[in-house]
Symmetry: C2
Subunit: 299 residues, 2 copies
């Protein structure tokens, strides 16, 4: 990764980490065991791609970061809860994540389920802090909370996880695999970008361009994950290669080949960049850099 | 139960059932398996005590039921998700609930966890529908969504479930047991009453009286559950008696005796009735009837 982008991402990531720490420190009346389990996964060293995107979008619209930060943190909490639940023995049954034991391996299944539940619940409380307390703002925020519920729920991320589980026993087409990704990871990524835009007062045109940007990089990100599962360096990705194949998981390389998969990532990223560069009033530099990074990344 | 109260509750319950069916029918893009699992527990024939209370409070304040109904349904969804997760093998490991196999027994653990997650997520989306779309209303609703997040999360219901699990291996005092119940079941019941009041434009005095009413009947309800576990009729309660003792669960009868437990239920219910009867502008009749029913109930 370019030095400048690395610094940019690092700076944004720190902002999110600090905000998340403040939020968790405020939780006073929480059983110590539960708080520990929540913090364990929330501060496990993730890339913070989603909340960083929310901040980057606000910046691209020349808006302040303060008002969007709680929503960015809320999305990261939703992402974290989904990882905890996905790792459970009855789901993907993963023992490690990012090189550390998974939540249920450390705290037990019951506590892992409850830590996930608590993070999801907290996320919606956190979203309510994005209002200036004034009328129009409040109405906008209420609509956004509804959108978040759709993106994270049965019609979005949870629905995608269900389809993913069902796909393990049924062969899927490229269209179906695209659909699974659109829901399982795309929906929340799209929310990250749209929340940043909506809370920063984006015009409809800007919101439209940013939504397409999000959908393109969301899918590119997922295909690249599939690619890295084959060609990635375990030292860098933190997970063994070839896992998808061993688990008979549907992947883009398996369906359309490795070369075509890489090409598709490239096309999606180019398309994403065109969207935000062409829209008026968007300072697209960092959004483009992030899109490029998604292709070049090794982890 | 008195015939009139039975009819009243039945009428309110039907209203909630219809509203919940409408909400679930709107969920178009949901995998069929997931929707089935959500519906299975959502329409398992529960008492609907929480949402009925929300409606009853609105009525007691001479307010329309329409604006509070989505919130009432949202609380029932949160209650339902908590039951699905509580029944899981890693938690209470229950095979039946209300005389039917538990969710994970029918749909498997993964789907049960996800159905719970989806219901919790949907609940927050549903809450957003309680706004007239006008400024002051929207601000009030945002505060209420935050309150719901606290009531259902790590500082409320989820925290209570954690404390309950920890209490299985550590002896608890009456104060600690009261605290567990206050969080595990009391917080959501309090929310049901407060949401009905806040959305119906209650004065601060009315809100105060209703909150105390909720706290009193919440604890009474839980102690009565403990009592019924000992003296209840399995045919009526739908669960075998003596389960708490067999599981070494901390209960009020175990800590303060059966007679004292019954007496305490009576006192709490009387106190609840005094609160709402004394407050001005509250038509307390049905709230009192419901409080009495909590003592007299056999299931």
């Amino acid at each position: 990764m370019k030095e400048r982008l690395a610094q940019y991402l690092d700076h944004k990531r720190k902002r999110i980490d600090e905000a998340l720490r403040r939020v968790m420190a405020e939780e006073k009346d929480v059983p110590a065991e539960l708080k520990e389990a929540m913090n364990y996964s929330l501060f496990a060293g993730g890339k913070r791609l989603r909340p960083v995107l929310t901040l980057t979008v606000a910046e691209a619209l020349s808006a302040p970061l303060e008002p969007v930060t709680p929503f960015a943190c809320a999305i990261e909490m939703i992402h974290t809860y989904s990882l905890i639940h996905d790792d459970l023995p009855s789901m993907d049954d993963d023992d490690t994540r990012r090189g550390r034991p998974t939540n249920h391996k450390v705290f037990g299944e019951a506590m892992a389920i409850l830590a996930g539940d608590a993070l999801l619940t907290k996320a919606f409380g956190l979203m309510t802090r994005c209002s200036s307390g004034e009328g129009a703002d409040a109405e906008k925020l209420i609509k956004l909370i509804d959108e978040a519920s759709h993106a994270a729920g049965a019609e979005g991320m949870v629905g995608g996880q269900v389809k993913d589980i069902l796909a393990e026993t049924n062969p899927v087409s490229v269209q179906e695999l695209t659909d699974i990704h659109r829901l399982k990871t795309g929906a929340l990524l799209r929310l990250s970008v749209r929340a940043g835009a909506i809370l920063s007062g984006a015009t409809l045109d800007q919101l439209d361009a940013l939504t397409r940007y999000a959908d393109n990089i969301g899918l590119a990100f997922q295909i690249q994950d599939d690619v890295l599962d084959i060609v990635g360096d375990q030292e860098k990705t933190g997970k063994p290669t070839g896992r998808d194949e061993a688990r008979h998981k549907a992947t883009f390389p398996a369906l359309i080949g490795l070369t075509e998969s890489k090409k598709r990532v490239q096309t999606l990223v180019e398309e994403a960049k065109i969207q935000v560069t062409a829209a008026s009033g968007i300072r697209a530099e960092w959004l483009c850099e992030i899109a490029d990074y998604l292709v070049d990344r090794e982890a």
